[in-house]
Symmetry: C3
Subunit: 175 residues, 3 copies
């Protein structure tokens, strides 16, 4: 089953993804998309907090750019793959070399998802329900985030919006 979990900041997306992965009974492969480009103590702390919460038995893959490849390599009926999160991956791609690899990598992901067999849980930030941002890059990011979520939602079996740690099923089987 392919699942997409969207939610605002600190809305319980990752915790829900981790719970669903545990329930899947597969071997969990956790793909972290954070790019450790610079020494950002705030980001390092967030990463450490997420890592401490995860079972030690889970495989960890750090892949900030080539997400489709990282998913494909780990595709197996025995695995449950978590991608946490789409938003960092999108941000990495839009910031790298003026976004020149973005369309290609996004197309690779969507194309892979059409074929994908097995358990996959994608986590993304809902960033489109505030005031339209002033900066051009922020607007581009907001637009591409929304487009990406739409395209992924169309190929996923279940789509969940989390609010205050509670899941709202937008598509697929309810809890």
């Amino acid at each position: 089953m392919k699942q997409l979990i969207l939610g605002g900041a600190r809305s319980g997306k990752s915790v829900l993804a981790e719970r669903l992965a545990k329930e899947s009974e597969g071997k969990v492969v956790y793909i972290a998309t954070s790019a450790l480009i610079d020494d950002d103590p705030e980001m390092l702390e967030r990463i450490a907090r997420h890592r401490d919460r995860r079972p030690k038995a889970w495989a960890l893959i750090e892949e900030p750019f080539y997400l489709a490849d990282a998913i494909q390599i780990n595709q197996s009926p025995d695995n449950c793959i978590i991608v946490d999160c789409l938003t960092l991956w999108l941000s990495n791609l839009l910031l790298q070399d003026e976004g020149k690899y973005f369309e290609q990598q996004k197309a690779a992901l969507i194309s892979l998802l059409h074929e994908f067999q097995g358990n996959l849980i994608l986590v993304g930030n809902e960033v489109g329900m505030g005031i339209v941002p002033m900066g051009e890059l922020s607007r581009l990011f907001q637009d591409e985030s929304g487009r990406l979520h739409q395209q992924l939602a169309a190929v996923c079996d279940r789509v969940i919006l989390t609010v205050a740690g509670l899941p709202l099923v937008m598509k697929g089987k309810t809890f």
Copy 2:
């Protein structure tokens, strides 16, 4: 039927509105509210993208300010009117002459909707679920947007929130 479709940036609001209009089997009248005040290439590109998606048979009306009038003139049992979008119309009114026409135009719209017969689909951006913006005008915009949506939701038969291209029916008949 009067329908209100709300959603974040690139959440699939317009696509849903256009689908519902096609299904209505009426003659579609599309009211675009964008004000071409200045040479904004980003806005021009957005408008072109929307226009290319729409059937050529649809009537197009461009009305950035006098929305109630534009709806009233096209009111007919044979028509399905789309307004895309409320947010640009609100923004146009708040920016024009320090917002002096806003209350009057809003009152005219609400008043018309109470009487309106026929098919009407209103599209608006949800902009109130992010951090409260720093600028006074942005806060005013956020507040007036929320108030407008509340008032419209109260008189509409169906209210839908779109997330990632998926509809969540908040009021009225589910899909």
Copy 3:
């Protein structure tokens, strides 16, 4: 019953809270959390608008910091307590003395809610669904707001998200 009402700016949170309080048939105690630190005419106007809407018979308590205490003192089977709103309280605590009292006050609130008997309606702003803000304090505020809502949602009997004045029940009894 403990209820948590979340929603964006001008989404109808307070109006819903006041309606539910009226229906509870208890004596309503309204806890306002706004800190009148400076002469903010916009805030004063908002407060006045809220106050004018409330029945004169309701008890009003202004408590910007010690929320757990204010709730506990008014705990009674005959009372229905409204807290409007959590977001101002959080903001007050994070801004006061570099946030040094925040963790303690939050722990006191969560701890009280586990024990609380009676009718309580908590109102908070959903602020996490826009672009991640640039400022460090805004990001901290967004994160703490999300965490607080998760923790409160876990101990409340009903959680409601308001959009355009319409309630979406995320947890507990639907309307």
